[in-house]
Amino acid sequence: MKWKGNNSKCMSDEMIQMYIDNEIDEFEKAGMEKHFAECENCNLRLYEQKKLIFDFKQSISLVNIESIEIPEFKHEKTPVIARKKYRLFYWKWAAAAAILIASSLFIYKKHNTNIQDDVRYIIFDMSSEVDANKPLHEQSMSIYIIDKSGKQIENNINNL
């Protein structure tokens, strides 16, 4: 229902609402009161809107909170909610890859250094003559493998 078109003096719903809530200035208010006295339609609409507001306020006043107990205030922080899933996903894979690379590097390095640390000197004993003309099974060569402290790790290997 729009009355604005029929009579330019008639009030819009907005104006009526503001009139009821007392949110318009005194000058306008005086003009509206004058109009309400003359115009039956607007008067009816004013009444209807007032009833609407009254009903609303009354029904919402049923929200009874007197029984609510005031709990003791706890100023702890609320638990942190996990971030979005896809981010977590990325981080998981990145962490896994990093761990994998780091551990493999570590193992590789350790493996290499083990050999280098333990075996320092390999001495070929060339005291016996090597005759290339002799058949292979008659030739002899001894290898001493000595570690850092001078211990002999492996016995000499004869008759390769």
Partner: protein, 151 residues
């Protein structure tokens, strides 16, 4: 922090009532109320001044409720479709609050604040809706609400 305790005790029910009207659910309202006062606590701890405590509380409560509604939009929609949930809660719930739940967010905020007898000026501060459109929005929202309740 004595100041905070006074505020907490005097305004707890007010904040809870507002939150309940917004969300129509006791548990959520309690959560939001706790959040609001947590916010206040941290503000006071940082020694930030709050000039109008009541208006500040209204503002923070409505903002938190709005963001809560945004977060749980899908869940609440699902809840409506599930009649079993409604039947259990029906006895406790109030008709208007249920009707408010079905309206759009802007109307819901305005009507809730309106029911607390807040002036238009404060509504502008709290919601950010233009002063000139508050009267219009309110009158329409009231009609919509009546329609929703008659259904």
């Amino acid at each position: 922090m004595n100041n905070f305790k006074d505020i907490y005790n005097t305004y707890y029910k007010l904040v809870y009532r507002l939150a309940f009207k917004f969300l129509g659910n006791h548990d959520n309202a309690v959560d939001i109320t706790q959040d609001v006062f947590l916010h206040l606590y941290s503000q006071l701890k940082l020694k930030r001044e709050i000039y109008n405590t009541k208006a500040w509380l209204y503002k923070v409560t409505s903002n938190l409720c709005m963001s809560f509604l945004n977060k749980t939009k899908r869940i609440t929609k699902h809840e409506y479709e599930n009649p079993a949930v409604d039947e259990v809660d029906n006895e406790k719930n109030i008709e208007v609050v249920e009707a408010l739940k079905k309206m759009n967010k802007r109307d819901r905020v305005l009507l809730t604040l309106y029911s607390e007898d807040i002036s238009y000026k404060e509504m502008v501060e709290i919601t950010g809706i233009k002063f000139t459109s508050i009267g219009k929005t309110l009158s329409r929202a009231l009609k919509k609400l009546k329609h929703e309740m008659e259904r």
